[in-house]
């Protein structure tokens, strides 16, 4: 195989969710659609690489130093939703159920992977939390690292007079109990609520 093609496949294969086989298929597809897909994609990649940066306030990705969400005066500035990465922020925005601000940590605590508090966007969160915020929502994954990070943040935020909450764990909307794993079912039962109270 040509070395340029080989390099491209190797690079693509390192992307999340792709392996060597998918990378080969993607490269072949791109080559079969050079004008319609490959060249515009190359141009988009270049532009994004040059122009997109992390928001200095919340860690979101945007073309400006301060992202559009942080600049939006219509959003509730009393509430900060803490997420692990920008993908989670996009998921919350897609759901269109939250109108507050965000804070992107850039990962979760993991001593094994050498990711400590100083590697995450935590100091900035504490600074923001001290500035007239009423509630911090911890929307972190229900993994070992996610929950350790949630415990850590709760400990750091608790001296401040703000409400610290986290997302509920339990039955997904439209989900059937029969298909739930035992751990989720146990969490849902533990966090059960009175009908009409929510």
């Amino acid at each position: 195989m040509d070395s340029q093609l080989d390099n491209l496949i190797r690079r693509l294969a390192r992307l999340p969710g792709l392996g060597p086989r998918s990378a080969r298929r993607a490269v072949l597809h791109l080559l079969q659609n050079r004008d319609r897909l490959m060249l515009p994609l190359a141009e988009d990649l270049g532009q994004v690489a040059r122009n997109i940066r992390s928001c200095a306030n919340c860690g979101n990705l945007d073309t400006g130093d301060i992202c559009a969400l942080c600049r939006d005066a219509q959003r509730d500035r009393q509430t900060i939703c803490v997420v692990e990465d920008v993908g989670d922020l996009w998921a919350m925005e897609r759901a269109a159920v939250y109108r507050g601000l965000y804070h992107v940590l850039g990962g979760t605590l993991s001593a094994i992977d050498g990711r400590g508090p100083s590697e995450l966007n935590i100091d900035r969160l504490l600074t923001r939390a001290r500035e007239q915020v009423g509630e911090v929502i911890l929307a972190l994954p229900a993994t070992v690292e996610g929950q350790t990070t949630a415990h850590y943040l709760h400990e750091k935020l608790s001296p401040l007079s703000i409400e610290v909450t986290r997302l509920a764990h339990g039955v997904p909307v439209g989900g059937e109990l029969d298909f739930l794993d035992d751990g989720t079912l146990a969490q849902a039962l533990k966090a059960r609520g009175r009908i009409g109270s929510q």
């Binding site: 792709l18 001593a111 070992v144 990070t149």
Partner: protein
């Protein structure tokens, strides 16, 4: 001791009716049809009998009877990562095709599990099928390391509660996290507190699940069954003591307090489910299993496995498949006969292995002869 008659020509309540292996261990491509409640694998040492049992064990959640690494499972001569084991499972009058392996088009090289052609979770497979086994390596479990006994116990728990896999994995991961933080010498109290709070929660959950299973198993195993003695199991450890003295929440608080105090004093060791030990005694004589003769230890171990199988049959409505690798070693003729009757009474499909057909006199089983030629195994079926 309780004795039960076994109906002749019985059908096991959950049984494999066919088994196919492709590029697995020393099997290139094999398929066998099974028409009997029990299966007897006969062959010389190294022919592939245990490999076949391992294949069956991998149809259920977990890492199988050898706890093998993924790279050891594909046939060496195949040169690839892919392998497959599939079977038809007859349960509750329904035939379900179950399978496991690494597919040829896999990018990740990860083992998947399938049910009727669809990829499903281990938990879902665990609802259909469980597999228990006895291997020669387990003969000395009562004198082996505490870790081996804990693994055995956790496997017994998982048969009823697949979430226990996640529970123990989570606990071990948190322990490693704490260990890594200590090794780095970081003095971040909030980070330690976060890990130790989660660790306490996991430690209590793991211990409580183990204790619940032991209580149920003791009720089942105390009386003895056929010629197998009554057994009483006990779990010893610090968290177990705390749970005996107070509530789960109090035990969590004590765990957190002790972890912190020790850490502050420079003592990095931590007592928890990873340091508990399971002990067994003969419930009739009160003699500890680790002081019993080799044959008596094996009889006690079989008694535990049979009690666990009966518990599953009653609670889940189906017994496990039993894989009994070279099980007749150390058993006298009377105990062998009792074992053959007992597995029939449980209603389980049992897979036996051995080198000599005469050792299995009185067993109602379909014999499969396993032989290896140039490193590749083949199976010859014969009707009994």
């Amino acid at each position: 001791m309780e004795r039960q008659q076994v109906a002749p020509g019985r059908q096991a309540e959950a049984q494999l009716t066919s088994l196919s292996l492709r590029d697995f261990r020393n099997y290139a491509d094999c398929r066998v049809t099974i028409g009997a409640p029990n299966v007897l694998l006969l062959g010389e040492n190294g022919s592939g009998k245990t490999n076949l049992m391992e294949a069956v064990s991998l149809l259920a959640p977990g890492r199988g009877l050898r706890r093998a690494r993924a790279e050891h499972l594909p046939r060496q001569d195949s040169g690839g990562e892919q392998w497959a084991v599939s079977a038809e499972l007859l349960t509750a009058g329904e035939v379900i095709r179950v399978g496991t392996g690494v597919p040829a088009d896999s990018d990740s090289g990860r083992r998947i599990m399938r049910r009727d052609g669809e990829t499903v979770s281990q938990t879902e497979i665990g609802r259909l099928l469980s597999v228990s086994w006895l291997t020669p390596r387990m003969d000395g479990i009562f004198v082996d390391s505490p870790g081996a006994r804990r693994r055995f116990l956790d496997r017994l728990v998982i048969a009823f509660d697949a979430a226990h896999i996640g529970r123990t994995n989570r606990y071990e991961k948190l322990l490693r996290e704490r260990g890594a933080l200590l090794a780095e010498g970081r003095a971040d109290e909030a980070w330690f507190s976060a890990i130790e709070a989660s660790l306490a929660e996991s430690a209590i959950a793991v211990t409580a699940a183990r204790q619940a299973l032991i209580a149920d198993l003791n009720a089942e195993a105390a009386a003895g069954w056929f010629d197998f003695p009554g057994v009483r199991l006990a779990l010893d450890g610090t968290v177990e003591d705390w749970l005996a003295e107070g509530s789960a929440l109090q035990a969590e608080d004590r765990f957190i307090a002790v972890a912190r105090t020790r850490r502050m004093a420079g003592d990095t060791a931590l007592a928890g489910p990873h340091s508990s030990d399971m002990n067994a005694v003969n419930s009739h004589t009160g003699a500890p299993a680790h002081l019993a003769s080799t044959g008596q230890q094996k009889a006690l171990l079989i008694a535990v496995v049979l009690a666990h199988a009966r518990l599953q049959a009653r609670r889940l409505g189906r017994p496990p498949l039993l894989l009994l690798d070279d099980v007749v070693a150390h058993l006298d003729v009377a105990r062998r006969a009792a074992l053959f009757e007992a597995v029939g009474a449980v209603g389980a499909q049992a897979w036996f292995s051995g080198t000599d057909h005469d050792d299995f006199e009185g067993l109602d089983a379909q014999s499969l002869s396993i032989s290896a030629d140039a490193g590749t195994a083949s199976i010859t079926q014969s009707e009994e």
